[in-house]
């Protein structure tokens, strides 16, 4: 158990109770990654409301029930599961209860291993074939006609069960595949994600909220680019389309200096990967309700500070209706996974 509460009180108002159809942007750089903050979003949405309630009580007495769909383009399910466990979240159990769904955008996005994975399946196939040869031998003596398909039945379903478990490991709702080029390929991805969202929604009651977290969709843009018919406009439309399915949306994006500033400074020298990325991120920041920016200390690394978190209002915040306090704080990730958030000069 981390000594700190999993969710620092300073952070809690920013990661929980996101208003309807809001977009939150989490920006990260090479030395200050956003995974810990994504885990805080997960924790705020999925953990039981009061810390006094014993872990494991799944019903929220008051307030709305929340569901989360996490699309990750950079990390495997294994990573999220183990890291969430450190915060006391059991993602596998939550997935079973249909409160959480993971969409894997890493393992088979661009290069799906062909089903030529014959060597691992040799042993099951070998095992399966020997009963199959013996079963017909046995079934003729068993005269009962109604039973004869049954011995074959279990083996068939068993094989089928193997096949499905190979395609989708437990806990992973869907694996994304990128194929083709341009809008058609994005549409296919959108359909895959929205089908999972709708599946989650089917078990929702009135007032339940669904949070969509997309981890580094900018990878999709960087690894395809305008030469494959995908630019910043297409990507941001893609995100808008996905946003419509969810109550609130959280995006993590890379905002390293070369990716943002090259487009504006070196006139004409910027490559498409830089211009498109900058256009996407800046465009999304204007649409977002809040921007949570992670960066390393300007003064160099320190032993007790991991980085700086700056929370600022985005261009999409409706100022007349709600207020969002801007703030900047230092954060420190401890060895046990707990996070400390504190102002400058405090400890």
């Amino acid at each position: 158990m981390p000594s700190q509460p999993p969710l620092p009180p300073l952070l809690a108002p920013y990661v929980s109770n996101l208003p309807d159809s809001s977009l939150t942007l989490v920006s990260s750089i090479l030395g200050a990654t956003s995974n810990w903050l994504v885990l805080r979003f997960l924790h705020a949405a999925l953990s039981s409301p009061s810390p006094n309630v014993a872990f494991g009580s799944d019903e929220l007495q008051n307030g709305t029930k929340k569901k989360v769909v996490l699309v990750s383009f950079m990390r495997s399910y294994e990573f999220w599961r183990t890291e969430a466990k450190r915060l006391g979240l059991d993602l596998a159990r939550l997935a079973d209860k249909q409160q959480f769904a993971f969409i894997d955008g890493l393992s088979e996005l661009f290069y799906a291993p062909q089903p030529t994975a014959t060597s691992p399946s040799i042993s099951p196939a070998g095992l399966g074939s020997s009963p199959r040869t013996t079963l017909p031998m046995r079934s003729p003596p068993g005269v009962v006609p109604g039973r004869s398909p049954q011995p074959a039945g279990p083996t068939v379903t068993g094989v089928r069960g193997n096949a499905t478990s190979k395609q989708a490991e437990p806990g992973i709702a869907k694996k994304l595949h990128f194929s083709g080029r341009g809008l058609a390929s994005l549409d296919a991805l959108e359909k895959d994600i929205s089908s999972v969202i709708e599946q989650q929604k089917s078990s929702m009651e009135d007032g339940d909220e669904l949070l969509l977290i997309i981890d580094q969709p900018d990878l999709l843009l960087a690894a395809t680019g305008p030469s494959m018919g995908i630019g910043a406009t297409e990507m941001s439309e893609w995100i808008t389309a996905l946003q419509q399915h969810a109550h609130a949306t959280v995006l993590t994006l890379a905002t390293d200096a070369p990716l943002i500033h090259n487009a504006s400074t070196s006139g004409g020298l910027a490559t498409p990967i830089e211009t498109e990325h900058a256009a996407l991120v800046i465009g999304l920041a204007h649409r977002a309700r809040s921007v949570m920016q992670l960066r390393t200390l300007d003064t160099g690394a320190a032993k007790d500070v991991s980085g700086v978190l700056r929370i600022s209002r985005g261009g999409g915040l409706n100022v007349s209706e709600e207020s969002l306090e801007e703030r900047e704080a230092l954060y420190f990730i401890q060895r046990d996974g707990g996070v400390k958030l504190f102002g400058r000069g405090e400890s």
């Binding site: 030395g31 994975a117 494959m228 090259n262 830089e274």
Partner: protein, 387 residues
């Protein structure tokens, strides 16, 4: 009933030795050679073949399995290539399957020769230096190196036993000599994957080879993927550096690593002079890697400055600076909390070792002169201070 036979004396040292042997022997075959759990969180790690680089990797004392280490180098030197050769040679010694991308088999024949385990080399060096080192806090002198402290704690009880234990335990990291050639039975086991230029991504064929090699191998085979000088135009066709090709390759490689996250590691070098860090493409490559290390060799004219950079006359002068931009596992979790982060590192490549050590600026030349000049008259004598 007594557990001991009555007529046998109480003193047999043989008996005591036999017990640890009996327990250790079944354990040895289970653990794969060259793999040990990280002292930080117990995940399996393997050695990079360079002891000081292992110690740099965020307390894991090795490269965690399933991680990609990217080594970038400025200028035209090939220090990163040396690191890569150590990494490949370590894989050969540990009988792991080494896949080398893009270079001919000649590269594999020029791997550095084995001297022994890294510990034994350290022992020799410390023996040589023992006499002229101050003996204050001797028990702390190797603090921070994993394994060193645990070993020294056991040593005083029975040195003989310790020695046999050290011999039995397979070495985790070895030392190599760059001027010799590696000869090892499993060196022929290395596979070389050529880069073919094709109309579509030249990486597709590489990925396919890696994928089939890893899936078709036995479940306890450990793989090392070695990619020297990625995107170097003498090796890779021009279309390889298009983002959709190289970034998709990195993404798929990352997927491969996470699918077999206990069996594969990869080390990749990139020439920064051709692909600067300030470009978006290289930044994305870095973002897709788990560890990013940058080597900045000192220009040759700086030799004079570098000589004085050595703290003592016995230490070799540093040949360049080393920057850690991202460390495996640590930064994935959010960064911070590592004693090695934020330090300035210098590296020295000599015939027998690649050493990374904290960089310290020498005392300014002018100052020493000034001190010497002022020393005779300026310093008050002891008698002057006494009352």
């Amino acid at each position: 009933m007594s557990f001991r036979k009555r007529n046998i004396g109480l003193s047999p040292g043989v008996d005591r030795n036999a017990v640890p042997n009996a327990t250790s022997q079944p354990a040895v075959p289970e653990t794969t050679p060259g793999i040990r759990p990280s002292p930080d969180d117990g995940r399996p790690t393997t050695s990079t073949g360079t002891r000081s680089l292992d110690n740099l990797l965020a307390g894991h004392a090795g490269l965690p399995m399933g991680k990609i280490l990217l080594v970038e180098e400025n200028g035209t030197t090939d220090f990163a290539g040396a690191l890569l050769r150590y990494y490949a040679a370590e894989g050969v010694i540990q009988e792991q399957k080494v896949h080398v991308v893009g270079v001919p088999e000649q590269w594999g024949r020029s791997l550095p020769g084995l001297i022994g385990s890294a510990e034994s080399l350290d022992e020799k060096r410390s023996d040589r230096r023992k006499d002229d080192r101050m003996k204050i806090a001797w028990r702390y002198e190797r603090l921070g190196e994993f394994g060193a402290v645990a070993g020294s704690r056991g040593a005083p009880t029975n040195p003989g036993e310790q020695d046999t234990a050290a011999k039995e335990a397979p070495a985790f990291c070895h030392a190599f000599d760059l001027t010799k050639r590696l000869t090892h039975p499993s060196i022929t086991n290395m596979s070389f994957i050529p880069v073919m230029s094709s109309k579509e991504s030249p990486f597709l064929a590489i990925l396919k080879r890696l994928q089939t090699a890893i899936t078709s191998s036995a479940a306890n085979t450990i793989h090392r993927i070695v990619i020297p000088s990625l995107l170097n135009p003498t090796i890779y066709p021009p279309n390889a550096s298009q983002p959709e090709h190289v970034l998709q390759f990195f993404h798929a490689l990352k997927a491969l690593m996470s699918a077999y996250n206990t069996r594969v590691t990869a080390m990749i070098t990139v020439p920064l002079s051709l692909y600067p860090r300030s470009s978006g493409l290289v930044r994305w490559i870095e973002l897709l890697s788990d560890g990013v290390i940058e080597l900045c060799p000192f220009p040759h004219s700086a030799d004079a400055m570098a000589t004085s950079g050595a703290a003592t006359s016995q230490e070799e002068p540093p040949q360049g600076m080393l920057k850690t931009h991202r460390l495996p596992v640590l930064h994935e979790r959010g960064g911070g909390s590592d004693q090695n982060v934020g330090q300035d590192w210098a590296f020295v490549l000599s015939r027998r070792r690649f050493e990374i050590k904290p960089f310290s600026l020498p005392p300014a030349e002018g100052d020493t002169e000034a001190q010497e000049a002022s020393a005779p008259g300026g310093m008050p004598k002891k008698s002057d201070l006494e009352f």
